[in-house]
Amino acid sequence: MSGIRVLVGTKKGAFVLSADGKRNNWTVDGPFFAGWEIYHLKGSPVDPNRIYASQTSGWFGQVVQRSDDGGKTWIQPGVTPGEKSDAWPPKPSNRFPYDVSAETGKPLTTHQWYDGTQHPWEFKRVWHFEPSLTDPHTVFAGIEDAALFKSTDGGESWHELSGLRGHGTGPKWQPGAGGMCLHTVILDPSNPERIYIAISAAGAFRTDDGGKTWKPINRGLKSQYIPDPNAETGHCVHHIAMNPTRPNVLFMQKHWDVMRSDDAGDNWTEVSGNLPTDFGFVIDVHAHQPETIYVVPIKSDSEHFPIDGKLRVYRSRSGGNEWEALEKGLPQKDCYVNVLRDAMAVDSLDDCGVYFGTTGGQVYASPDGGDTWTSIVQNLPSVLSVEVQTLK
């Protein structure tokens, strides 16, 4: 029988929520890594029992965790307890050294800081893991300060795909309010050489050669704080989503504006339509209806909560512009939570399930494509990320 596993990263640990295909009765396991910020967990599409988790702390830095049994037990890849090693520099799982070698092209050492000066690139944390679609040992990591790393040994060691920072616009990239993070990594299932990424606040980029070279894909994005309407970079992209059956069609929640592209990001058009506000963080696409998309409108960039205290998911069945509010089962009074950029996901059961988590610690599930919602849990720590595994 099919089942669902919801992987929840929070500000104080990770949780694994499990249910059978009916999605009525849920088991909550956790907290794992209690007390640590878990920015993201994601399972391998090839081996669903393999899950990567980003464990971070302002005190102790970055730790990478991996489970090979569906989240029951965890290891730090490459670290064998009790095994001594004096090798230095080590190649442990939580070392993300920026590539500054001349051989890789144009080593960049600084980016733009808040005050307009140049600032050194400094590793802070992993925001997002994206496991390979074909190999359980290969996984990508989007990090802060923005760069893309890759591991081909199950997370034991990492190397930078430095062509992204070497693109040439790097010195113009600047942090958003949450830091200069590479938060979105999308692998094209039809083309293993094509990867999309997004950075706050640099914008979206695409590679068509497996990560060697990159191009900005921000044409059509308009940002009030950028006077140049044709600015190649500088846009605060919050999240991008794609339905794997139509990999050239992308949907974006920008700082303000919901956008779509029908040509792999080369051009974007606004599809905010009748949304009550087009500020927000999450966006996702129905698993079987590639023109059905979901956002959670947030009042404004100054007030990160839903309008009028009513938590509503908005669904468009037309790929944007025409939106309907989904509120059945969601709090419609006194709700002032946020839904962060990586905190929405869909399952791939016949009746597509939609899931999202809030900064108030609730995780909501809809087993019917958004028509009705129930809370799986209500009092977790603030939710940073939600991913879903559909187990056949």
Binding site: G58, W59, F60, V63, P81, P92
Partner: protein, 111 residues
């Protein structure tokens, strides 16, 4: 604080280190660990021994690239704050003799 330098270089000392809660969990140990370290016993050499014996702690006490103390951690021993004494200063005699542990403590910050 340099009595330890009078020890011979070949001398091994059993040094006690008290770890903060989260690093204990990561290493799978109790509140305190003991390590055999050769003199002269500095914070750097002691952390080398910690990271060698407990590789899961690499990067959590010292930054990888600079090998400096992580900003929100502090080192205390014998009621002294050694955090800014430098990595190559020898530890107090009572730490070298095993009477006192080196305390690695998370700075009080955040919520």
């Amino acid at each position: 604080m340099s009595e330890a330098t009078t020890q011979g270089n070949a001398d091994l000392h059993t040094i006690r280190v008290a770890l903060p809660f989260h690093l204990r969990n990561l290493a799978g140990v109790g509140p305190e660990i003991s390590l055999e370290v050769a003199a002269p016993i500095t914070i750097a050499r002691l952390l080398d021994a910690v990271e060698s014996a407990y590789p899961m702690l690499r990067g959590t006490i010292r930054e990888y690239e600079t090998r400096k103390r992580r900003a929100f951690l502090r080192f205390f021993a014998c009621q002294e704050d050694l955090s800014n004494e430098g990595m190559d200063v020898t530890l107090p005699a009572d730490v070298v003799s095993g009477r006192e542990p080196l305390l690695i403590i998370g700075a009080i910050a955040g919520g």
